[in-house]
Structure formats: structure tokens, C-alpha cells
């Protein structure tokens, strides 16, 4: 019994990894070599044909570009706002622990709720934001109708939802910076801004490197905000690779193309992550 416990655990682990992760990923890649008009008919081997068609299509490159814009802007905003919020929450003020709790709440919400609440708040007739903007004399905005506005909307919702991740991790990091460093800097006459750039940022660089990596990977892969808010529209203005892949596989019933796009987007991500590790070596790899 004792002798077989650990090998038994590892066997279960190996099987679970194969069935849940390695198997499906390999199967996805193999699906991309087939034409599968419906799940009841036999798949037809088409080799690299799906890749050739996908890579020569304008919609793939449009989706790639939109994905880079969406991921890039949401990461920058989340990191900048998250650091700002963490610096505020690290000050001493009345109600600090309450505010720390409140700022975390968006992270708990299902994406669906954030999207629905946003849609309700900007509802053309009865939305509170529409009403307030009207009262303040601001022009009406069609949040989902123009290209720029719909990209702005999906970025706004995403940033609101996931900034708490940056806030919380950065705040936890701030609390580990030794107070003596700031005291020494103050004695030397450094103001808050110089303290931030010369003590806080360098000390928290390892945490920040991981935050940007994780958020970058997730924002690049995220389907639900865009799918629920705009469905990729108007006219593909917010369509990124996950939406394109979903639409191909499940709306146009072209599983092969959907799998090819998912595989390509994973390859792009792997290249980006490898370059990122080159540029910002992890100081401590867990």
C-alpha cells in the first residue's frame, strides 16, 4: 500500500493530464487537417488546406490585429489603473478595508453580468448613463454601433472586470517593500514621484513581470466579453481570434477552420511569450 501510493497518485495525474489537456490539444490540431461539414458525416483529409485558406483571408489578419489592439490596450489600462488604485489603497484613510473589499468585487462577477449591466446602463432610452449624459448636455453615444465606440465598450468592460487582479497583487507587493527604503529616500530629499520610480517600481518589478504576462495571455485568449457585447461587430470591427474561431466552428459549422485558427492563435501566443521571457527574464521561476 505504502509503496504504491505515490506511483498511484502519479499514474492518476498522468492519465488526467493526457485525457484533459494533451489529448484534446492534439485532437484539436488533427481536426485542423480535416474538412468536417457535419459531425455525422465522415471527415475528409485536406492537409494544410485550412491553414492556407485561413492565412490568406483578410478576416484572419483583421482578427489578429483587433486581438493585438484589444489585448494591448486592456493590459496597459489594467496595469496603469491597477497600480494607481493600489497606491491609493496603500494610504491610510477612514474606511480603507471597506474600499479594499469594494474594489475587488468586479473581479468576482461573471462576465455575463458585467456585460448585461453595462448594456442596461447605456440603454438608449432608460439607461442611467444615457440619462445622465443627456442631463449634462453631452452628445448621445451609440456604444455598439460604430467601430471605435464598440472597441471602446469592450475595452471598458474588460478593464473594469479585471483591474482588481492587478490592484490586489500589486497592493500585496507594496506591503512587502521595507519602510526603511522610503525613510532613507525622504531623508535624501526624494519626493513621492521619485520614490515611486526609484524604489517602488524596481522593488516590484518581478511581480509586475508576472502580472503583465498572465494578463496578456488571458486577454489574448478571452472570448466572452467581446462575444457577449458585440459578437465581433459591427462588420468585424471587434472580431478577434477567439471570436473568429468560435464563429467558424459553431456558427458556420467549419470545425476544421475553427481548430486551425485556435492552433494558429496558440502558436502566436507561444512566440510572444517566448520573446517576452527573452526581454524580461523571470528572476524567480516557481
Amino acid at each position: 500500500m505504502t509503496r504504491w501510493l505515490l506511483p498511484g497518485f502519479l499514474t492518476v495525474g498522468a492519465i488526467a493530464t493526457l485525457v484533459l489537456i494533451v489529448g484534446p490539444a492534439l485532437y484539436a490540431v488533427s481536426l485542423s487537417f480535416y474538412d468536417i461539414p457535419s459531425l455525422t458525416s465522415d471527415p475528409v483529409w485536406v492537409g494544410l488546406n485550412k491553414y492556407a485558406v485561413v492565412l490568406s483571408s483578410g478576416e484572419f489578419w483583421n482578427a489578429m490585429w483587433n486581438g493585438i489592439v484589444y489585448a494591448g490596450l486592456t493590459i496597459i489600462l489594467q496595469v496603469v489603473l491597477g497600480i494607481g488604485f493600489a497606491l491609493i489603497l496603500n494610504q491610510k484613510f477612514v474606511g480603507r478595508s471597506l474600499l479594499r473589499g469594494l474594489t475587488f468585487l468586479p473581479y468576482l462577477l461573471p462576465t455575463v453580468i458585467a456585460v448585461l449591466t453595462f448594456k442596461w446602463m447605456v440603454d438608449g432610452s432608460f439607461g442611467i448613463i444615457t440619462i445622465l449624459m443627456h442631463e449634462w448636455g453631452l452628445p448621445a453615444v451609440n456604444w455598439f454601433e460604430t467601430e471605435a465606440a464598440s472597441m471602446f465598450s469592450v475595452i471598458l468592460i474588460s478593464v473594469w472586470l479585471w483591474t482588481p487582479f492587478v490592484t490586489t497583487t500589486f497592493l500585496a507587493g507594496l506591503q512587502t517593500v521595507p519602510v526603511q527604503l522610503y525613510e532613507a529616500a525622504r531623508v535624501d530629499g526624494a519626493g513621492p514621484i521619485r520614490q515611486f520610480f526609484h524604489i517602488t517600481l524596481p522593488m516590484l518589478r518581478p511581480i509586475l513581470t508576472v502580472i503583465v504576462l498572465l494578463r496578456g495571455v488571458w486577454m489574448f485568449n478571452k472570448l466572452d466579453v467581446i462575444w457577449l457585447t458585440t459578437g465581433g461587430g459591427p462588420l468585424g470591427a471587434t472580431e478577434h481570434l477567439p471570436v473568429l474561431s468560435y464563429r467558424k466552428a459553431f456558427a458556420l459549422f467549419d470545425i476544421g477552420s475553427g481548430a486551425a485558427i485556435a492552433t494558429l492563435s496558440f502558436l502566436v501566443l507561444m512566440i510572444a511569450v517566448t520573446l517576452y521571457f527573452r526581454a524580461f527574464p523571470m528572476e524567480e521561476v516557481k
Binding site: L6, L10, P110, M121, W218, L228, K286
Partner: protein, 280 residues
């Protein structure tokens, strides 16, 4: 000099509290608006709304629970999330413990698999899983959703517990075994009790991921009877002619368990985030 210093301190204070108010409104107002919209009578929703509701009603909650599939979907969400949590715990405890306590080569593959799973686009897993479930006749079942959630929650659980078990000194188990415990006994009596904080964190995040998931449910579930709440709420927008009161009531009901859990267990949430036990 002294007076200007006082003024400066005063303005700093004012600026800080302004920032605090802006941050509070930004974070909490949409949530407040969701909850308060679910409690306002229809005529109040459709006329110029006030910040505080003038009168309260539970009419949307009644109609939601009595006339829609919502109760069924809530139950589906609960079944899927709890099953996912239990299976995630069992698998990730076994794998993480096995990996930290042995020195064989295969374990590298497991850890690498977990790391890559972090980066997989959801559709790289959802498309093949959908095809596989179709082949074996599991399509459109709650079990298919549990299995697809495991593809995210298990790597997170292993990753987090791996870090947790690594720091636990081996001598503790050895001492227990010297005192006559079997390895399994030492595992249950020494290792698991000491790991409770880590186990709670993994359970919380597995629940959160499964409870809030929309993407996998969208791919796996087709019939109304098997929808989870996120999927059901999203299809309500198309089905009803935009009954915002009902939709906000449904949203409030699914968010409240998460807020309650956070209020009681917030330190585990923070611990999980800082250790990277998350995806989202």
C-alpha cells in the same frame, strides 16, 4: 512656512479622499445599480430614475423564479460547480502531492502540461472536447461541462498546491511514519490538515471559475434544460423583449453567493491571486 506646510498636508488629504470617492463609485456603482434595478417597480425603471429607489418590489424575483427556467438553471450551475470543485480537489491533491514527493522523470511532463494549459486558448480545448463528447454521446450534458471546466481548474489546482506542498517539510511525514503511521495515514493525518488554507483557496477558485463560466457552457450546452445561469441570462436578452428588471434580478441572485463567500473568506481570495492560482 508652517502654515504652507499645513495647507499642503490639508490639500493632500482632500485629494486622497477625492480619489477614494472616485474609486469607490467606479468599482461599486454598476453593482449597486444592478441590485437596485432589480428592486424597482417597472414604472420607476422606465421614468427618470432616482439614485435611491422610491419604493421597493420583489416582483421580478417572483416572476423569475415562478415563470422561467431560472431555478432549474441555478440548480444546474450549482451541480456543475460543486462537482467541479470536488473532482478538482481530488485530482490536484493527488497530482501535486505525487509530484512533490517523488523523483521520477514522468513528473516533468505533468508539470509542463499544467503550464501549457495555462496558455491554451479556450477554443483549442473546447472544439476538440465538443467533438469528442459528440462521438461518445455526452454532448449537451452537465457532465460534459464539468469535464471541460476541469481542463482549467485542475492545472490551477496542481500549480497552486505544488507550491504549497513543496514548502512543507518532508520530516513531518517521516516523523509520523516513524511513529507507526502508514504513508497514507501520514498523508491524511499530517499533510492534509496542514494544507487546509491552500485547499480552501483552490476550492474557492475552482468554484468561481465554474460558477462564472460562459465560454465552455456556450459551446457544450444546447438545450434550455441544461443551461447554467450565465448562459441562461445571456439568452434571456434575446428571448424577452428586454425585461431589464428580470435580468438584473437574475444577475443579482448569481452574484450574491460570490459576494457572501468573498466577505467571509477574503484572505483566501487575496492569497490565491498573489500565488497565481487563477485564470480570468
Amino acid at each position: 512656512m508652517n502654515q504652507t506646510l499645513m495647507q499642503k498636508l490639508f490639500f493632500n488629504r482632500v485629494a486622497l479622499y477625492l480619489a477614494v470617492i472616485v474609486l469607490a463609485v467606479y468599482s461599486a456603482f454598476p453593482i449597486y445599480w444592478m441590485i437596485s434595478s432589480s428592486l424597482r417597480p417597472t414604472q420607476e425603471i422606465l421614468t427618470n430614475p432616482t439614485l435611491l429607489p422610491r419604493s421597493l418590489t420583489f416582483q421580478y424575483y417572483y416572476s423569475l423564479l415562478a415563470q422561467t427556467d431560472y431555478p432549474r438553471q441555478f440548480l444546474n450551475s450549482l451541480i456543475v460547480a460543486l462537482t467541479t470543485v470536488v473532482l478538482t480537489m481530488i485530482l490536484s491533491i493527488m497530482i501535486a502531492y505525487g509530484v512533490t514527493r517523488t523523483r521520477i522523470r514522468g513528473k516533468q511532463m505533468i508539470i509542463a502540461g499544467m503550464l501549457y494549459a495555462y496558455m491554451f486558448p479556450p477554443l483549442l480545448l473546447a472544439i476538440p472536447l465538443f467533438a469528442m463528447f459528440n462521438l461518445v454521446g455526452l454532448n449537451d450534458t452537465l457532465l460534459s461541462l464539468v469535464i471541460s471546466h476541469l481542463t482549467i481548474t485542475m492545472p490551477l489546482g496542481v500549480w497552486f498546491l505544488w507550491g504549497f506542498f513543496k514548502t512543507m517539510p518532508f520530516e513531518l511525514e517521516e516523523a509520523a511514519m516513524v511513529d507507526g503511521c502508514t504513508r497514507l495515514g501520514a498523508f491524511f493525518r499530517v499533510v492534509l490538515p496542514l494544507s487546509i488554507p491552500g485547499l480552501v483557496t483552490v476550492a474557492i477558485f475552482a468554484f468561481l471559475l465554474s460558477w462564472t463560466d460562459y465560454t465552455f457552457a456556450l459551446v457544450m450546452i444546447g438545450s434550455d434544460a441544461n443551461k447554467t445561469v450565465p448562459l441562461g441570462l445571456a439568452s434571456m436578452v434575446g428571448a424577452f423583449d428586454l425585461r431589464w428588471g428580470d435580468i438584473m434580478a437574475g444577475s443579482t441572485l448569481i452574484a450574491l453567493p460570490l459576494f457572501a463567500a468573498f466577505t467571509m473568506l477574503s484572505r483566501y481570495f487575496v492569497q490565491g491571486l498573489t500565488a497565481g492560482a487563477v485564470k480570468g
